[in-house]
């Protein structure tokens, strides 16, 4: 195979990891709360600015800023769920959807006011100079990005399947009433799930901060991609979201290589529609048994 194609494939996998992580948050929120979070892209931008502000304000590197940014994002997500979404718990789904859309606009405009529309760029030169791996080149920042994505996904898996909290989350996702009867504090679990979803966006956004210029409306371009990935992976399916993210990243990169970025979006959404027609539960979805 042409070495450049291999390079494009590698870049696609690495970028796909970021999409996967952000989509995982969306999938988790959908799994537990049964709502599509349209503030997901804006929350991701919030995560970027959190890392940017902490990094510049405290004079530390973006990776060192990440834990604090994660804590802030968890708090933000927890609050949004507890104060806003929770209070219209029994409203029709479209109202909850519009509510998250409203949250998106509010977050974006808060960023506009605080940080102005100016473009911001972090420079961490040491991590940005590409190293050579055989005939391929890759910046350490992108390898770190992927390593963190893997670790976080594995961490989420452990949390969901090996801990008491995880069991509570899964129980609430499967049968809210049953979980409540079993003594699970469902309201708190729902807020925690939203908080964890926000943490995913915070990490994904934070990891992108060293490799992008950020501005307040940046998240919009990630919103729809996350949605596509979460659906392809089967909403609520952790590893499905992960694999779909890589899949979309590779499609984007290879089509960008062969045809240019204008075609990438067309192919991503083309593939999405096609898969929905052939397999409505997504490539990795197990069907809708649990939700019916």
């Amino acid at each position: 195979m042409n070495i450049y194609v291999l390079q494009a494939f590698l870049d696609g996998v690495l970028m796909g990891g970021i999409y996967a992580l952000a989509a995982l948050g969306l999938s988790l929120i959908f799994g537990v709360l049964k709502i599509t979070n349209f503030a997901h892209g804006a929350m991701m931008t919030m995560g970027m600015y959190a890392v940017y502000a902490i990094s510049v304000g405290m004079g530390i590197g973006p990776y060192a800023a990440l834990p604090l940014a994660m804590a802030m994002m968890f708090g933000l997500g927890f609050l949004i769920q507890r104060v806003l979404i929770n209070s219209i718990d029994h409203a029709p789904a479209y109202n909850q959807l519009l509510l998250t859309l409203g949250v998106a606009y509010i977050l974006e405009n808060v960023l506009l006011m605080v940080f102005t529309p100016n473009y911001r760029t972090l420079t961490v030169d040491a991590f940005q100079k590409a190293i050579h791996i055989g005939p391929l080149t890759v910046a350490p920042a992108r390898l770190i990005m992927f390593a963190v994505v893997l670790a976080v996904t594995a961490g989420f898996y452990m949390l969901l399947y090996k801990t008491r909290v995880g069991r509570s989350i899964r129980a609430s996702a499967q049968d809210e009433e049953g979980a409540r009867l079993m003594g699970i504090h469902v309201k708190r679990i729902r807020a925690a799930a939203f908080g964890l979803g926000a943490v995913c966006t915070g990490i994904a956004g934070g990891l992108l901060t060293p490799v992008m210029s950020i501005y307040p409306t940046l998240g919009e371009s990630f919103q729809l991609k996350c949605f596509v990935i979460a659906v392809l992976g089967g909403m609520g399916n952790l590893w499905g979201a992960f694999l779909s993210g890589i899949f979309i990243g590779v499609i984007e990169s290879l089509s960008g290589y062969f045809l240019g970025g204008t075609w990438s979006e067309m192919l991503i959404y083309g593939a999405f529609i096609l898969i929905l027609l052939v397999r409505p539960t997504g490539i990795f979805g197990r069907g809708n048994r649990r939700e019916s």
Binding site: M15, Y119, S221, E252
Partner: protein
């Protein structure tokens, strides 16, 4: 600083409400409307134009205004959308402004141009580059800035000043809207006339989250000349990925590039981007008026004037010049005729006399060729507009 800005915004909003209500018939000032994006994703760019306009207004007033009557700039937020621009323009024309200026994007300029024509009020376009803006046969629209085809023509005209020995192949990478595609297609169509072979044309959406595949593709094409055309965020992303992978192209020359001629771009990359060229907006550094403008902008806003905002300053000066030649500067018909007869020798632009053709186009408009040298912008061509930064 932040509080001051908010205070000003609130005051402005209040003011525009009051003014909108009372009509400008016997006001004490000559009012000029300004339609630019002041909120939304283009707020930074729009605000800079308005800031530059205010400096021009202050200058005219400090010299006694027009026949003793001071100018007043009335801002209205276009929100960066066509519908927002239409509302803003309508509000301003209803409140009785003598002229309109605007708008930063071509789609907004189209609708404001129509409003101005209907109301019979002159519009001086600050920034909007679309070629077909002046093709409607309107009589009231005038444009100072170089259009898409002027920039593209300049690119080919200045070729001798950025070519390297043995330059044979060229690849273009451009954002896929009207602006990027328009310039890229024009250059691709005509560059073979000067002996270059186009080996690749790659378009991408300005909202792209990554351009690494496109950069890999460019690496594979290995062109002697790379021509990037796009907005600030996507072009910084492109350069970031080129620098990250340490790929070297024979030469990189932008055309009306949203990043390369921006001061922020240099603040981010410093000398890492030395050797990049761009054909873009600029001022004439040898004009006394330019020195005044640079100085005044720095003093008022604490930063260098962004190059696109220069056209905001000039729009007011062109209007002031035409008003001086009117018996009644607030008569829109008279003002239009005076604008059409403009013959402005003293101005801040890197071009000859400012004069409009019958469609309202500034016939001598031109961009300049800028090189990034030691982390600074240096004008390479035309030589008469080179800065004193040049050796």
């Amino acid at each position: 600083m932040k509080m001051k800005k908010w205070g000003r915004l609130v005051l402005l909003a209040a003011l525009s409400f009051i003014l909108a209500g009372c009509g400008g018939e016997d006001s004490q000032t000559i009012r000029i409307g300004s339609v630019h994006p002041l909120t939304g994703s283009m707020a930074y760019e729009g605000q800079a134009i308005v800031n530059a306009q205010q400096i021009a207004v202050d200058r005219v007033n400090s010299e006694g205004g027009i026949n003793g009557k001071p100018l007043e700039l009335v801002e209205s937020d276009s929100l960066g959308t066509s519908s927002g621009a239409a509302n803003a323009a309508l509000k301003l024309t209803n409140s009785g402004v003598a002229a309109l200026t605007g708008t930063y994007t071509s789609s907004s300029a189209q609708v404001v141009s129509r409003t101005a024509e209907k109301a019979g009020i002159p519009l001086v376009v600050t920034v909007a580059s679309s070629d077909n803006l002046l093709s409607n046969g309107y009589r009231y629209t005038f444009r100072i800035q170089p259009s898409v085809s002027v920039f593209s023509r300049n690119f080919l005209e200045y070729f001798d000043y950025f070519k390297t020995d043995g330059m044979e192949t060229v690849a273009l990478i451009y954002e896929n809207s009207n602006y990027g595609t328009g310039i890229a297609e024009y250059i691709a169509e005509h560059i073979e006339e000067i002996g270059l072979e186009v080996v690749g044309m790659i378009s991408y959406p300005a909202t792209a989250a990554t351009l690494s595949a496109e950069v890999t593709r460019l690496e594979a094409m290995n062109p002697d000349l790379l021509v990037p055309i796009g907005y600030y965020a996507d072009q910084t992303l492109l350069m970031k990925e080129i620098l990250e992978r340490d790929i070297h192209f024979g030469r990189i020359v932008g055309c009306a590039n949203g990043a390369f001629s921006d001061v922020k771009f240099l603040e981010t990359y410093g000398t890492q981007v030395d050797g990049i060229y761009d054909i873009n907006y600029r001022y004439n550094p040898n004009s006394e008026e330019t020195q005044y403008m640079l100085e005044a902008y720095r003093e008022a806003y604490g930063e260098e004037i962004p190059v696109h905002a220069v056209y905001g300053y000039q729009s007011i000066m062109v209007l002031a010049d035409a008003m001086e030649r009117c018996d009644d500067p607030e008569d829109p018909g008279q003002l239009r005729d005076a604008l059409a007869q403009t013959e402005l020798h003293s101005h801040v632009l890197p071009q000859g006399v400012i004069r409009f053709d019958e469609t309202g186009e500034n016939i001598n408009s031109a961009g300049v060729l800028v090189e990034i040298r030691d982390g600074r912008h240096v004008v390479v061509y035309p030589e008469e507009y080179a800065d004193d930064r040049n050796e």
